[in-house]
Symmetry: C2
Subunit: 300 residues, 2 copies
Amino acid sequence: MSSFADRLNAVATESEALLAHLLDDAPLAGEVTRPQRLVAAMRHAVLGGGKRLRPFLVVESATLFDANRDGALLAGCALELLHCYSLVHDDLPAMDDDDLRRGKPTVHKAYDEATAILAGDALLTLAFDILAREEVHADAGVRIALVRELARAAGLGGMAGGQMLDLAAEGRALSEQEIVTLQAMKTGALLRFACRAGALLGQANATQLAAMEQYGAAIGEAFQIADDLLDVEGDAATLGKAAGKDAEAGKATLVAALGVAGARAKLESLIEKSDAALAPFGPKADILRAAARFIAERRN
Amino acid sequence: MSSFADRLNAVATESEALLAHLLDDAPLAGEVTRPQRLVAAMRHAVLGGGKRLRPFLVVESATLFDANRDGALLAGCALELLHCYSLVHDDLPAMDDDDLRRGKPTVHKAYDEATAILAGDALLTLAFDILAREEVHADAGVRIALVRELARAAGLGGMAGGQMLDLAAEGRALSEQEIVTLQAMKTGALLRFACRAGALLGQANATQLAAMEQYGAAIGEAFQIADDLLDVEGDAATLGKAAGKDAEAGKATLVAALGVAGARAKLESLIEKSDAALAPFGPKADILRAAARFIAERRN
């Protein structure tokens, strides 16, 4: 097995090329005319950055179940487009009001607010367009399951709902359990989907799907704690976005609730949880074990 | 056949009940906790108004092809949720900046801007969640076709792209053809989808689908002209929203390009076009013929 870093980079490179292709100047079937400014804003939001962790998780989970890699990469890119929409809308003045993302001006800064709203809407919509394509999986039943699960992960019971709870909680003290619930929706749902998507593409059985759900839940929680630690300890140059914004906004984080040492201990226990979930798959899941450690220990 | 008005009202009543059910307090499968404020804003955006023209077109097109009515109503409500998302985002201060919609405060006025952005996002996402449900159609292939076509109709090559072109065109003179193209995307794409959706649900053949596409294109164009005439001639009390906003914003409309008399003549020719498209279906399509006339002649 090549190293974790090599495989992460390989998916990032492939994703960047495929995302550019998906957003390129070739019109979609049925398109009347191309709204150039909208496409440019979507490209600004998506291309030229990002670890592409979500496509990586889809691809490597799919590999675990011997699913077709090209279909998994396409599904992973659909998920990445949806993730990018959430960043564009999150950065808006009425939301987190951020000027910088991945070291570049945010979409509403580079274009304008109306364009950023529409670019986010169009990215979200394009994610479902892509998931519905035959190249993702020959079986329409598999594709419709992906559509259904992504909509659930992204919608009011998942990411969008978690963002709402997060906004409503600003300046208010939440219990540890409330924070875990909020974050399981806000950032966890898409990461759980990434891991389940690979299993769905590989037509895994219910036990295997449940194992991937547990793995995804553990790394999702770890991802958010690592993110919150970075907000406390990182600097803007490394992060490519402003640091220290959570405390300033009075955001409820587990780091605030548990302290830095407590949060680090929690990260270790989450790595153990993700290892336990992967136990039935043996050494074939080593890459996903390495991913969990990477997520917990990342520095940007 | 019961009258057109009766059948339109029947679908409106059924849609209102089904939409309320789809947005009610029963959590979705997999939901962690319910973001009450978000759900309330979504309900505000969707319930208590609207002619439910899009669900009506899905249901009556499906009836033409002997498709199951319950599935068609569910697909129609998914489309209506997506339509409502577009209104919520369109009304935002950075977009059309409207305070009033269907005689009620717009979502960002009744709640706040962040909540309105998220409510729109969640409505768009919920539309795909619903289309993916087995109750829409037993065949996953039919459901995935609906997902694909709705994403195309709503995305950068359809509604969102048309909104972008519309914003970019403000204050600039467009040719008649440019206006037709823009509106075919901005409002036409969802209405075409409504008519095609019924045919897809009824597993119509390619000729029949093409006929429904032509019908949908004609009524879509008629819908927009009637809307623009209302903006010129209507008043806020009848419309439930501000009138005269297009001229104020320097928006490109066919009424501005052709004049009121020219626009009325165009409406008549579009009714003839829609009749021609429906000719192969005989009297079974009378309800859709009546719908075309209603759309062209509506007063609010």
